[in-house]
Symmetry: C2
């Protein structure tokens, strides 16, 4: 599979929403309201402090990520990023390709580390992927996420130097 | 010292800025831009997802805190709060009084826990206070905060059930 990862444009908004909607509705991985509508979701993903990228496969946009400073001012040397892969495209290496791209982008932008603030602990595929990508679990908040199937789940803070 | 803690009104904005300005300029405890101006700072502290309180002493407003859901949707059962005490009023129990009020407010609002996302580890007075108030350190992000005196400092994630 050949993926081209590039900065998102306004023309990608439909494709990004098409990726976001099932993730948000499922409510299993992001602490976002499950009934969030298109405009709210896109305003969130494309909020002004973020830069958004999309991964384009032969048959269309297969994933998206954003990158931003995790905190302003004295915390602005640490990046944060969030990732979503299109429904039915899991397990194809798209998340890993997006993360590799995000790490390169963060490094090129001068960030010294990347932090994920809220990785749902029962999302073990994601946790394992981030660990393979060099992230350590540096925090565990008990019962921070109400999972629709597993009930209360811990949320992990994960971190990697760049 | 008698303190009255009450919801902030628009009439408190000057007093809140008077508390915020030295905290922001010092850059020792909050990951906020040190050059933030009055309007940016007040927009941040009074942002729409927050409820702001002030502690009124005999001689004026001596402290302020905000409370909010730390995350929306499946994370909205956990509260977050932030506290600032007026310059020159440290060590008088104002922070503790604000925190006790925030914990009561959070509990009355139905939150199940309170989380602090970014406690500067070298701010040992705050860390000790939160520990006395029942918070545990559940995460430690290495070098997440550039302290103007101590240089790179860890940031702590602290958590307490309600």
């Amino acid at each position: 599979m050949s993926l081209s990862i590039r900065a998102a444009t306004n023309a990608d908004r439909d494709a990004v929403w098409h990726i976001m909607e099932p993730v948000i509705r499922a409510g299993e991985t992001y602490a976002l309201p499950r009934d969030m509508d298109r405009e709210e979701a896109l305003a969130h993903w494309f909020s002004p402090d973020r830069t958004v990228f999309v991964a384009e496969a032969a048959d269309g946009v297969a994933g998206t990520y954003y990158i931003r400073a995790n905190r302003p001012g004295p915390g602005s040397h640490v990046a944060n990023a969030g990732f979503m892969v299109a429904a039915g495209r899991g397990g194809q290496g798209i998340g890993q390709a997006l993360c590799e791209h995000a790490l390169s982008t963060a490094q090129a932008s001068g960030f010294q580390a990347m932090q994920f603030n809220f990785v749902v602990a029962v999302n073990s595929r994601a946790v394992r992927l981030w660990q393979r990508m060099g992230f350590d679990i540096v925090g565990r908040v008990p019962n921070a996420f109400l999972h629709p199937i597993h009930g209360m789940s811990d949320a992990l803070v994960m971190h990697r130097r760049l």
